[in-house]
Structures are given as structure tokens and as C-alpha cells.
């Protein structure tokens, strides 16, 4: 009879031996999980459907010839597959996620609950409008919040994400220029060197040309460069400026920039990615902005979902409002209506950007968040976000090299000047993974060497910030001392550093069955 161990406390024996590979491929709680194509079976299914009756066919012969050959899994297997994979992801719900310019704040679960109410989740975009009055009212209510918070008179709700909102704003500018008879004459869009990559890409998508303006030594728009550009050219369509900018700084001369652009006959597009720093405290409309997208998935807490969906409603000034795309929601004595075609009051609309009416699921979440915080809470959001970033900067600026002097807004930016030769920003980022944190944004903005952009957001406690700063300070010390160990990080993540060069050289973008000889060799 074996020894009865139930109820007996275990006594670990000191030993590092035996750690390493396992027969199962698991590392304790972290289970091995192969691709579904390796574990599933085409005849297996996790969905019980009634049997087809057969006998009816109105396809007229337009029928699939080859089967899809896709494997299925039963429900327990499928659930395990995704649970195991999920455990290889870092997430906000696990810890601080300081990706600069991404505003990884807590995603309240009430938002999820509201978005799943049947009256929002189970309604079709082309139902008769009298059957969706609550949905249209919600869009109108959210629009009112956005207009009030930005101090701008109109908002286009349909853009699907931030970059799509940029497209919306720039197409509105294009249309306004066409209406002025200057569509062909004004093609130049000024974009600071520090801008998000989406800004120049968007301008090009709208048929504009991009002219880069420099940053000055304080991380703001170089006013000398801007003035000389405006003097030397007569084809300015507008400027695309992020504010607070991607260095985490408020553009000190923003009113003057707006005035200069307007005097030159152009429009001011503001990238609203960093609205979280000023929401409730500053209205972009008071800064001379003509168009600005709002990332509901940043400032207003809708989840990032591993890369979307986002939502990018775009507020517009009086000058651009007539050109807003369809659809739009209007209210009259009969209730709420969708304006779906460029006619009537929408006759100057620049067109339709997308099927249907925008990201309703994100609208519900964002409005839920706004109602929860209220005007007072949103102001506190901005203040705590900025306070947290300045606290991180203050705790680290003796060890790391702040990119610019003075206070920051919602994100703290450091250069790699403090690191020893041979240690790069990526090494610091990967070492943070071992410390249990998602790395900061690295190598962006481009105007700062080896940039490290840290945005803690307002939903971190002081204790969490202190733990993070302790960890980053230690990694930074090692980087300053030239600790080669950093080059191999991460050591403790589900994967070691991945070979991105190899992935790009000969791309493998889908699973293909192994060749028969490979199977035979196994």
C-alpha cells in the first residue's frame, strides 16, 4: 500500500534539476496547443444542425466543385483550443499595458453587457426605421456627447476606426476645396515628422501630396519651418496635426498654427488619438480645429480586441459640416430618421464611406462609458491620465533620458541615449516582458532616437505604477551598464524572440498539409 499523501503538507526539496522539456509539450499550466488543422477533423462538428431535406436546388448549377476541407472540433475541444491560446496573450485585464498613443485603459464590463442587449445586438441595419428608434436615439445621444466634448457643431458617425476617421476628415476637406473651385489647385497637406503613419497614408489615399514639417528642439511643430512652407507655397489644402502630439506634448502654438493655416486658405485636421489627455478640460473646437476623429476604442474605453474593431466618429467645424458623409441621423416631430442618400440637407455630402451606419456595437459601449463617467468623471479621467504619465516620467527621468524637458501630457517619452553601446530599445522592451509587462511603444515617434513612449492611462493605481517603475528602472540600469543578458530577453514568455526577418523573406501565410514523405518520415 502506497503512502497516504492526502492532507499531508508537501515539503519541496531544493532542486533545479528536471526542469525543461516535457513529454506533453506543456509547461505546467501553459498547455501545448497545435493548429486546428492539426487537431481537427473535417467530419467533426461542434454545432448540431437539423438535417437538410434535400431535393430542392435553385442554384442553377453555380455550385462549389471542391470541398473546403476545413477541420472542425466538438464544443469542448474548441473551447479548450481557444482557452489555451488565450493564455499566450498579454492583456489589460492582466496588467499595465503602457503602449504609447494606444490608450490601453480598462474596458468596463458594463459596456459589454449593454452592447449585448438584444435591442442593440439583434437588429438589422435595413429594418424599417420606426422599428429601430431606440438605436437611432442612441446614435443621436452619442453624437451630442461627442459634439459637446469637442465643441464642434457636427459629427460623422460612420467611420469604422481611427484611420477611417482620418479619411473622413480629409475627404471632407477635399470636398470643401472642390466646392470652392480649388480642388485641383490645393493639393499640399502638411504633416509633422512625428505624425502617426496613418496621417501621410491617409492624405495620399485622398489624392493629396504630403509635405513634412520639422519638429523643433522642444518636440513641437517648428514654427519657422511652418511659416516658410506657407510663404513658399500657394497650394495648401491643410495640415494634419496630432494634439497632444505623439511626443506626449501639447502643441503650444496651436492657435497660431490654426490661424496661419486658415489664413493660407487651408483646413486644420487634428488627429484625435490622444484626446484622452484633454477630454473634459479642453475642447478642440476652441483650438481652431476643422476636423478630428475620435477613437472610441481609446478615449472611450471600447476594447481593442487584439486589433479592432475600432470606431472613429469624426467631428467637423461649420466650414466642413455640409460635406459630412451619409448616412446621418436627424430628428423631427415624428422621431429619428436616417439620411441615407446625398439629397436634401445632405446634398453636399462627399459620399458614403461604408455600408450601413457605423460601428453600433462600439457606440453602445462608448455611450455606456460616457454616462458612467459623466462630465465630471471624464475631466478626472484626463487629469489622472496626465498625472500618471508625469509620475512615471518623474520616477524614471534620473535613470532614463527624457526626450524633452518639462511636464508631459498623457504619455512620457524617453530616448535611448542612456543605454550602453550594443543595447537597444528593443532589448529594454523585451526585458519588460519578463517582468510581466507589455512593452511601451518603441521606435515611435520617429523624431526621437530609439524612442520609448509610455502611456499608463488613468486606470492604473499608484501601487501598480510603482511596481512598473521599479521594474523598468531596474531594466534601464542594466541597459545603462551594458548587460548583455538583455539581448536574449524575453526568457520567461511563452515564446523566445521570434524571427521576423525569416517570416518576411519567405512568407508562410496559411497552413498547408505536410507533404506525404514528411508524414512517412515521422
Amino acid at each position: 500500500m502506497g503512502m497516504q499523501t492526502i492532507g499531508r503538507p508537501t515539503t519541496p526539496t531544493a532542486s533545479g534539476e528536471g526542469a525543461g522539456s516535457t513529454v506533453s509539450g506543456a509547461k505546467g499550466l501553459l498547455q501545448r496547443e497545435d493548429l486546428i488543422f492539426e487537431v481537427g477533423d473535417i467530419d467533426k462538428t461542434g454545432v448540431d444542425l437539423p438535417s437538410p431535406k434535400g431535393g430542392k436546388d435553385r442554384l442553377g448549377g453555380v455550385q462549389r466543385k471542391r470541398r473546403t476541407e476545413l477541420p472542425g472540433l466538438s464544443e469542448p475541444e474548441a473551447v479548450r483550443h481557444y482557452m489555451r491560446l488565450s493564455q499566450r496573450n498579454y492583456a489589460i485585464d492582466l496588467g499595465l499595458f503602457p503602449l504609447g498613443s494606444c490608450t490601453m485603459k480598462h474596458n468596463p464590463r458594463l459596456n459589454e453587457k449593454a452592447a449585448r442587449m438584444a435591442g442593440f445586438a439583434d437588429i438589422h441595419p435595413l429594418q424599417p426605421q420606426h422599428t429601430v428608434q431606440g438605436a437611432l436615439e442612441l446614435i443621436d445621444e452619442l453624437a451630442t456627447w461627442l459634439k459637446t466634448l469637442t465643441g464642434l457643431p457636427a459629427v460623422a458617425m460612420s467611420p469604422k476606426a481611427g484611420a477611417h476617421g482620418e479619411l473622413c476628415g480629409m475627404l471632407a476637406i477635399r470636398q470643401a476645396l472642390i466646392a470652392r473651385g480649388e480642388g485641383d489647385a490645393r493639393k499640399r497637406v502638411l504633416v509633422p515628422a512625428s505624425a502617426h503613419g496613418t496621417n501621410p497614408a491617409t492624405a495620399i489615399q485622398c489624392g493629396f501630396i504630403v509635405d513634412e514639417i520639422k519638429a523643433d528642439a522642444r518636440g513641437r511643430v517648428d514654427m519657422t519651418d511652418l511659416r516658410s512652407k506657407l510663404e513658399q507655397t500657394d497650394d495648401i489644402a491643410g495640415i494634419m496635426l496630432t494634439n497632444p502630439n505623439t511626443c506626449g506634448l501639447f502643441e503650444t502654438d496651436i492657435r497660431e498654427i490654426a490661424d496661419l493655416i486658415h489664413a493660407a486658405g487651408g483646413y486644420f485636421y487634428c488627429d484625435g488619438a490622444n484626446f484622452n489627455a484633454i477630454v473634459g478640460r479642453v475642447r478642440p473646437g476652441d483650438l481652431g480645429v476643422d476636423a478630428m476623429h475620435i477613437n472610441l476604442h481609446k478615449t472611450f474605453s471600447t476594447p481593442h480586441g487584439g486589433g479592432g474593431p475600432g470606431s472613429g466618429p469624426t467631428v467637423l467645424s461649420d466650414a466642413l459640416a455640409p460635406f459630412a458623409p451619409v448616412p446621418g441621423v436627424v430628428k423631427d416631430e415624428d422621431g429619428f430618421h436616417l439620411v441615407e442618400n446625398a439629397e436634401g440637407e445632405a446634398r453636399e455630402a462627399f459620399g458614403r464611406m461604408v455600408a450601413f451606419h457605423g460601428q453600433m456595437g462600439m457606440f453602445v459601449r462608448a455611450l455606456t462609458y460616457m454616462l458612467s463617467h459623466g462630465a465630471d468623471g471624464l475631466k478626472q479621467v484626463a487629469e489622472d491620465a496626465v498625472l500618471n504619465a508625469n509620475y512615471v516620467q518623474a520616477r524614471l527621468n534620473h535613470i532614463m533620458t527624457p526626450a524633452f524637458e518639462g511636464y508631459c501630457m498623457h504619455e512620457a517619452l524617453f530616448s535611448d541615449a542612456f543605454t550602453a553601446d550594443g543595447i537597444d530599445t528593443i532589448d529594454i522592451a523585451k526585458a519588460l516582458i519578463d517582468e510581466g509587462y507589455h512593452p511601451m511603444t518603441m521606435y515611435f515617434p520617429l523624431v526621437v532616437h530609439g524612442a520609448m513612449l509610455i502611456e499608463p492611462t488613468e486606470t492604473e493605481s499608484k501601487q501598480e505604477l510603482d511596481r512598473f517603475c521599479d521594474a523598468l528602472a531596474d531594466v534601464a540600469q542594466r541597459a545603462a551598464q551594458g548587460d548583455d543578458g538583455l539581448k536574449g530577453a524575453p526568457y520567461l514568455a511563452p515564446k523566445k524572440r521570434l524571427d521576423e526577418t525569416r517570416a518576411a523573406r519567405k512568407p508562410v501565410l496559411k497552413w498547408t498539409p505536410p507533404a506525404p514523405e514528411a508524414i512517412a518520415a515521422e
Binding site: L49, P52, L59, R116, A118, I123, T252, N390
Partner: protein
């Protein structure tokens, strides 16, 4: 406030560490004229969960849901059943609350599911490669048009008369902004093959749809041949992804680019979004693709892993020379899609498509038995157009009074098409025999 962890004591201690007197110091760069005193006027203050939930529930309850009665509204978005486990999987925090997988060592969950998604979409469309998703079908269509122009170095695209009008509008908008000529053929129910007569040596691509907005399924092979003869591309569009289980997929028709809406698989209707755009193409065109791509590689130990790849196409690297400005796409909707597909499996997917087709066949049989109804769509999957002698708006309103949401009037999508009496109706696996009988009975009363 329940989402803000800092206490007043924390704030004071932190200001002390920073050496600032108050948070106002951080806003010194804001022009005096733009500084607000107090909170913004015209908005309520914060509220507890209960009050907020009541507010949202009140709005929700004002809407009639697609499950509240017989429901036939389609035309680009479809009422399907989503398994409970799909919604549970996408609410898993590690998927829901993470970012685009820029740090692959701690994002293998997202990356592996994207790799699986790409493999599934490529197989379903019978194309070589698929990307990691677009916003939706309409924006995917617009991106396909400009991609075709890049790949062929030509500046003209031709849209079929059966392309969803919202897709046509989104495509026209993006193309015209870039100086690309757009030719739109007259709306017609069975006219996809007309594209073959509108391709010449200056055409970058022709864009056809099957099933098209009227539900018509078409083998676009003759269009592909005509396009390829002029070194132009065929872009093949679908708005009902379930059709791929039964209907000839883009790759079997010689399409160079396949784009479509993936909402039908794993994603609820949600009044039009968020949805998930599917985008696939031939191997030859892969470096012209917009959007994220996930690829296989190895880590420092030689173990298989996945990363975002070919990012030199993308805006964050290439800026003004990028293939698109797209950044955030539809990651979580793609996860819902791939999880639902994994539950279905190939056989279950074909089975689901068959059920959809049979429901539409039954509906067409029941409606065509009503005197005065003419089914216009000659070949269909789960959706078709029909006509009566009465204005469609009036018919749908009278059906609505009888508890049946009978479909979409063609004139809502095509106000100038002269199709005032045409209704587009869709049936799915959610449609019951009782629903069909109710529709036929109500229609008989109103026409």
C-alpha cells in the same frame, strides 16, 4: 468613481514626487482662451451601474429585434445563429482586452487565431492567401479596387449592376479621390456577365458579385477570362459568407481578388457593425495587399511561432507609400468568425449552407404561390428579389403591421433604379416553416 483607482492621497503624494502644485501645471501649454473652468456644460455628471444600465435598457427596448417575429431582412447583413461558446470565447479577457499583436512573444494567442483565420478564409474562397481582416465587406471592396489599380498600373474600374449599392458607393468614393475612373453598369438583377463586355486594355479590374445584391448567383468565369485577356483583374465580391459552403467560390471562377462580408459567421447583426471584411487574393498579388498579415516563423529556440509580417506594405512603416492607411481592423470579429468556423468544420459549414438554401427555396415556393407575386431572381442561394403590382414600401408596411419584416425594398438601396415594386427577401437557418407560412399568408392579405 469606480473606474479610477487613484485616491486623493495618492494624487497628492504623486504631485509631490513630481514637484507640481496641481494638475493645472500640466496644462500650462494650453492657450488661456481654450482653458475650461469647471466641467463642460450640458452633460450629466457620473452615474452608478444601475442607473446607466437602466438608461441603455430603455433605449434597447424601443427596438424590435430580428428574433421578435418572422424576419426576412438581408441585403448585406444576415440573421444567423451564433453558438453560445463563440461569444464566450471572444469575451475572454486575453482576447478582448489586448492590442494588435506587435509583441509576438506575448501575443501568440491572437496571432495563432489570425493564422487559422487566414487559412480558413483562403480555403473558403478557394484563393491562395487571405489577410487578417478589413473593417467590413464594403471597405474591403474599395481597397480591392485601388489595389487592382496599383497592381496593373491602370486607372479604371468597372462595377457590375448587381454590386451592393453601398459597396459601389464606398468604392466610387475612394477611387475618385485617387483619380481612378469608375464605370457603374445599370442596376439589373441578372447582369454580372455584362462585365465581360466592358473590359479593355485600360481597365484595371472589373468587380462582380455572387450572390449579388438581388441574390443572383453567377459563375463569373467568362468575366475572368475576358478580364485576363486584357491583363485586367477580376474582383469577386460576396456579402453572404455562408454561401461559400455551397456556391461556386471566387477562386473556382478565376478571381484575382476576393472580398466579402464575414458577419454571417460568428457575428451578430448589431445594426450594421462592427463586422469583419474578408480579403483574399492570388499569391502573385500578396505584396500589394492592404491590411495586416500573420505569418509563420520560429523563435530563438527553433519553436514554431507566428508574427505580423510583410509590414513594409503598411502605414506604420511605409507612411505615404503604404498600400493602405488601414491600421486597426476587425480582430475580435475575425476571432468570432474563426471560432464559429472551427465549431462548424467543413462538413458543418456545407450543411449550414444547404439549410440556408433550402429555407430560401421553401420561401420562394410559398411566395410564388401567392397570386400576383413574381420571383425575379433566376438562380439564388438564400436571398432573392420578387415583385408585386404594388409599391414595395406599402407592401412592407402592411406586412410589418401583420408582424412580418418582409425584406428590403430595392428602392431604399437604389432610389433611381425604377424598381419601386421590388422586394429583396432573405431566409436563413433561423427561418422556420411557421415563419414562411406567416409570410405567405400576410402577403396574400396585402396584395
Amino acid at each position: 468613481m469606480r473606474y479610477l483607482p487613484l485616491t486623493p492621497e495618492d494624487r497628492a503624494a504623486m504631485l509631490n514626487t513630481i514637484g507640481a502644485a496641481s494638475v493645472d501645471d500640466f496644462y500650462d501649454d494650453v492657450p488661456q482662451s481654450a482653458r475650461l473652468s469647471g466641467t463642460i456644460d450640458g452633460l450629466p455628471d457620473h452615474q452608478g451601474e444601475l442607473a446607466v444600465e437602466r438608461h441603455l435598457a430603455r433605449l434597447s427596448e424601443k427596438n424590435r429585434t430580428a428574433s421578435d417575429g418572422p424576419f426576412y431582412v438581408g441585403a448585406g447583413a444576415y440573421k444567423h445563429h451564433v453558438p453560445a461558446s463563440v461569444d464566450m470565447i471572444i469575451q475572454r479577457s486575453e482576447f478582448l482586452t489586448t492590442y494588435t499583436p506587435y509583441q509576438p512573444e506575448i501575443a501568440q494567442g491572437t496571432l495563432q487565431t489570425l493564422f487559422e483565420f487566414q487559412t480558413q478564409v483562403a480555403a473558403m474562397t478557394a484563393m491562395d492567401v487571405a489577410n487578417a481582416s478589413m473593417y467590413d465587406g464594403s471597405t474591403a471592396c474599395a481597397e480591392a479596387a485601388v489595389m487592382a489599380c496599383r497592381a496593373t498600373r491602370r486607372k479604371k474600374v468597372v462595377l457590375s449592376g448587381g454590386l451592393h449599392p453601398h459597396y459601389a458607393a464606398a468604392t466610387r468614393l475612394l477611387c475618385e479621390a485617387q483619380g481612378i475612373e469608375v464605370i457603374e453598369l445599370e442596376p439589373a438583377i441578372d447582369s454580372e456577365l455584362e462585365l465581360a463586355n466592358h473590359v479593355d486594355e485600360t481597365t484595371a479590374c472589373v468587380i462582380g458579385q455572387s450572390p449579388n445584391v438581388f441574390g443572383t448567383v453567377t459563375d463569373l468565369s467568362p468575366v475572368a477570362d475576358a478580364a485576363h485577356a486584357q491583363k485586367a483583374l477580376l474582383v469577386s465580391v460576396f456579402t453572404e459568407a455562408v454561401s461559400l459552403g455551397l456556391v461556386t467560390p471566387p477562386g473556382e471562377m478565376g478571381a484575382d481578388i476576393a472580398v466579402g462580408e464575414g458577419q454571417s459567421i460568428g457575428n451578430p447583426l448589431t445594426f450594421g457593425g462592427p463586422y469583419v471584411g474578408l480579403f483574399a487574393c492570388t499569391q502573385k498579388l500578396v505584396r500589394q495587399m492592404p491590411g495586416r498579415l500573420c505569418g509563420e516563423t520560429v523563435d530563438a529556440d527553433g519553436a514554431r511561432g507566428f508574427v505580423l509580417t510583410l509590414s513594409t506594405r503598411e502605414q506604420h512603416i511605409r507612411r505615404d507609400k503604404a498600400t493602405s492607411n488601414i491600421c486597426t481592423n476587425s480582430g475580435l470579429c475575425a476571432l468570432a468568425f474563426t471560432a464559429h468556423m472551427t465549431l462548424l468544420g467543413g462538413k458543418g459549414f456545407e450543411h449550414l449552407a444547404q439549410l440556408n438554401h433550402e429555407a430560401a427555396c421553401d420561401l420562394a415556393d410559398a411566395l410564388s404561390a401567392v397570386p400576383g407575386v413574381e420571383i425575379l431572381t433566376p438562380r439564388f442561394f438564400n436571398e432573392f428579389a420578387f415583385e408585386t403590382s404594388i409599391n414595395a414600401d406599402a407592401v412592407l408596411a402592411m406586412l410589418d403591421e401583420r408582424g412580418v419584416l418582409g425584406g428590403v425594398r430595392a428602392s431604399r438601396l437604389l432610389p433611381e433604379s425604377g424598381m419601386g415594386n421590388v422586394i429583396i427577401a432573405a431566409a436563413t437557418e433561423c427561418t422556420t416553416q411557421e415563419d414562411i407560412a406567416a409570410y405567405a399568408a400576410a402577403l396574400k392579405e396585402v396584395i
